[in-house]
Symmetry: C2
Subunit: 201 residues, 2 copies
């Protein structure tokens, strides 16, 4: 695990990429964020419980997932270093959450609760700007995923994921990739086998 200083450096680096910050502006945010280690398998949000925090991942990997009535998991989002993750519904409304968020690797996160988040946006307009831009980018990515899910075959969706998120495919267990794509682990195994054969010939 990295030093707390390094965690904040990572955050500043990522914010500055979209919105340059002065030292003072960044300081306003560090005082509101709680550094935390999350061990592999540990949760930062659980369905049915209010999830107060928005998390910035400084190291490791987390996932957000829902559970259907058959008890199967369905991964809605992965978050590697430099990504934000939360149960947005619960974060915004304060109501019980709709999904689980846990760590797939030993990870480090910076947490901010919704009250502090609103205060930060209201006080430092550059942060409001930063999150507006971040959410716009997320809008593009998520709408692409929706389009893929209604227009592509399982194999095409896997190839698209390999293209867009090669790192995730490398680091995460295959059954989690399958879950993210909306298919069974067996189906993904066969798809990979098919791709191997074709690319060899």
């Amino acid at each position: 695990m990295q030093d707390v200083r390094l965690m904040f450096d990572a955050l500043r680096e990522h914010v500055s990429r979209l919105v340059p910050l002065t030292d003072d502006e960044f300081l306003a945010c560090t005082s509101l964020m709680i550094p935390k280690r999350v061990r592999k398998g540990a949760y930062i949000a659980q369905e049915g419980e209010a999830s107060k925090y928005l998390a910035f991942v400084t190291s490791g990997c987390l996932r957000a997932y829902g559970i259907d009535k058959k008890g199967d998991e369905h991964i809605v989002q992965f978050a590697l270093e430099g990504w934000w993750i939360t149960d947005m519904y619960s974060f915004l409304t304060g109501k019980p959450g709709e999904c689980f968020i846990d760590a797939l690797e030993d990870s480090g996160v910076l947490l901010i609760d919704s009250g502090s988040f609103e205060k930060l946006c209201a006080t430092v307009s550059k942060f409001e700007r930063y999150f507006r831009i971040l959410l716009q980018n997320n809008y593009v990515a998520t709408h692409r995923r929706v389009l893929a899910s209604i227009s592509l075959s399982a194999e095409e969706r896997y190839l698209q994921m390999l293209d867009i998120y090669p790192t995730i495919v490398q680091r995460v267990a295959q059954r989690h990739i399958a879950s993210y794509l909306g298919i069974t682990p067996e189906a993904l195994s066969r798809i990979r086998q098919r791709i191997m054969k074709i690319s060899k010939s």
Copy 2:
């Protein structure tokens, strides 16, 4: 079609619901927005062409859709009165668009180009705030849709849509609903038939 004044009233009404505005603040935005009628079937964005505008719908109904290599349409989003719609990728980057946006009914929209949009957000911080909140709400809705698409059957997705967007299901042609759900019109027809029978018995 409604009077231009009414179109701006509708916008103000919707913005104020999230962020109260003074007359001056709202004025800054009216001067940047272009009112326009969009006849049924007319486009406000086309794939491959840069789409400069973000649109607020004051009346009628629009849709955003992509076309796959077989030539089939896949609807990513509907927008009724009070909704915003754009090809966000093209709007943000200025690059050629990824989808088409056209009107399903005679409609009225207020258009703002990306330059004016950025200026508005930079000048009037309440608008930046408004869009940040709007995008957060969109985040919740779109992630729910993703979860539905990877975890629910076609019938369950249809029932969910009936629950969340009953107005859209009423107003829009069935094949468009099918397209939005990622199924064929035939499949939707059979699903509806099955539901009718069950609810009658």
